[in-house]
Symmetry: C2
Subunit: 351 residues, 2 copies
């Protein structure tokens, strides 16, 4: 039985369409009989169908943060110039996910889905639904960066430019452990009941502890030291947790978070090349800007730089933001100007 | 009722004495009627009683790691030259702690103890038991650094030199959150039973998850990226967790860990000066080497440097170690030479 969850609705995520791409056979075996992807677009696809940009989404995220923060005529992701498509990844609650799937694959029965399955699904959607064969840019943050890398390695001819923000092509051992610790907060809540809860509210304790781990790792030590939560109009820091991180995560579906985490942990483009990461990254022909955040606690600049050095003609563009990984939320007024500068330059680069 | 725990014994911690310092009245109210401190010494106290060095202990740690790694004739902490005293802090399992306290303050009834209470207790023990009025050096890592700072601020005339390693004088908001996440792993284990378990084995799930959080924060991202657990003869990384971190923590007492964590979270020398950290650090007359570890995930160099700049005549001596905070275990062969170099220079400095 799937469960009701009002968070995954138009009320919280504005306009989007849910498009079926049919049966999706999965790399780990099994399939999603009727895979449905939630899609949002901005701007108009031109007649040549060659002005499209793809946005991928992150762990716990949807297209909505991109609408609120990243996309608009004042930004590099400008709907007056491009046809911009945001596709919500499988498991994020808007696309097919454990909490909303048909009974045979709902909840604890949801199959294992990889980043690579997402990219197969997204390519099919773009081609069959929109007739798009090539993308001017693929851009995404965190797990969206993992998807961006998978796109550029799997479909090099289809990706002209790539901008992975705050994420890696091959997940690190440290991130695997961090994600496992996030998962454990859910697994060890008795309300989780091996994935067969009646409502996400049954798992509110686990989701709250999960939010608290994001407080430790999602921001930087400098963010806390400088007491920047005060600038966000929360004080004391407990109010920041209770007013921001806890409500952000506790409305979400536990099985959906676990499905995304499983993908995150195993993201690895080197699966295309028998484990040879340099060879996999060497396949990329997209003009690529690798954009880590300087204060990121779990996708540190050096891990992103090591990968960037294997990508021909790529550039490392470090985002300075004391918020750390969750700079992605675009809270700091200095964040979007940096993103726009780099994406603007990338989009202006001939390929 | 206290509980039996064979880990806190001579079998695991070698020679030590347990010395009563009598009743310890606590800053938060209440008291420990018969406060007993576990003490180890190396070398001989000279007639003038002026060749003493004090070692303080860290969260989950005892004097034993200092015996195994830091103290010896080949080290700066040389028992041929100094009388070296290691005092186990309250709650660490060897000194008075929730699991071994008399019934009226055992387990969930253990009173709140602050770092400052520890230093009052340690000063009394040194003075009354050994007749030591002044220390050539106070040195400790992590929570031991917190105690070192408290010593230097509270008893400036008694501390000639100070070496806080990988710790801060005023705990940071980020570390409060990290510690709270560690605590939560214990609190939400049903076996914890509000602190009234029958054996630490009842809380093995919580202690295991607690160990896993140390895997995320205790080492550095670089440690994991470089797969350095292989150099420690563990492979794959799960074996490192199961063979090292899990057995390290699961033998410990949950209430003891929580008592130490409560102290860690609230360590703050600025309590002496109405919240003015600069004024508190300005009281220090000890020659001080502040020694953070470059890859520390939760006591970053910059936090330690900010404090160091308020200490007259102090020096910042950064330890390079890819292990991060748990460099303190002295696993890397390059670690102790750095410690010995800095402590040797500090001890050779006229004061």
């Amino acid at each position: 039985m799937s469960v009701e969850n009002p968070y995954y609705s138009h009320e919280f995520h504005g306009d989007y369409d849910v498009v079926s791409i049919g049966r999706l056979d999965l790399e780990e075996g099994g399939s999603i009989p009727d895979c449905r992807l939630a899609v949002t677009t901005w701007g108009e696809l031109n007649e040549a169908r060659d002005n499209a940009i793809l946005i991928t989404t992150w762990y716990s995220g949807t297209h909505q943060i991109w609408r609120d923060v990243y996309v608009g005529p004042e930004h590099a992701l400008n709907p007056d110039l491009f046809f911009i498509v945001a596709i919500n990844h499988v498991g994020n609650g808007l696309s097919t996910s454990p909490h909303n799937a048909p009974d045979e694959i709902a909840m604890s029965r949801f199959p294992k889905v990889r980043i690579s399955d997402d990219i197969v699904a997204q390519e099919r959607l773009l081609r069959e639904h929109f007739g798009i064969e090539q993308l001017q840019l693929v851009v995404g943050g965190s797990m969206g960066a993992q998807q961006t890398y998978e796109w550029a390695v799997r479909f090099p001819d289809k990706v002209l430019r790539a901008a992975p923000i705050a994420g890696t092509a091959q997940n690190t051992p440290h991130d695997f452990l961090f994600t496992e610790a996030l998962n454990a907060q859910i697994w060890y809540d008795p309300g989780w009941n091996d994935g067969e809860y009646k409502s996400n509210a049954d798992v509110v304790d686990g989701l709250t502890r999960h939010a608290h781990l994001w407080a430790v790792m999602g921001f930087s030590t400098k963010f806390w030291k400088q007491e920047l939560w005060r600038a966000l109009e929360f004080d004391p820091k407990d109010a920041f947790l209770q007013g921001f991180l806890e409500p952000y995560f506790t409305v979400m579906d536990p099985n959906d978070l676990l499905a995304m985490a499983w993908k995150w942990q195993r993201g690895d483009v080197a699966r295309h090349t028998g484990g040879d990461l340099a060879a996999a990254l060497g396949r990329i022909t997209a003009k690529t800007f690798v954009m880590p955040t300087d204060e990121d606690m779990f996708f540190p600049v050096r891990d992103c730089k090591t990968e960037q050095e294997h990508i021909k003609g790529s550039r490392l563009r470090v985002i300075n933001d004391v918020l750390g990984h969750l700079a992605l939320f675009g809270i700091a007024p200095t964040y979007m100007p940096q993103i726009d500068q780099h994406l603007g330059e990338l989009l202006a680069t001939d390929v």
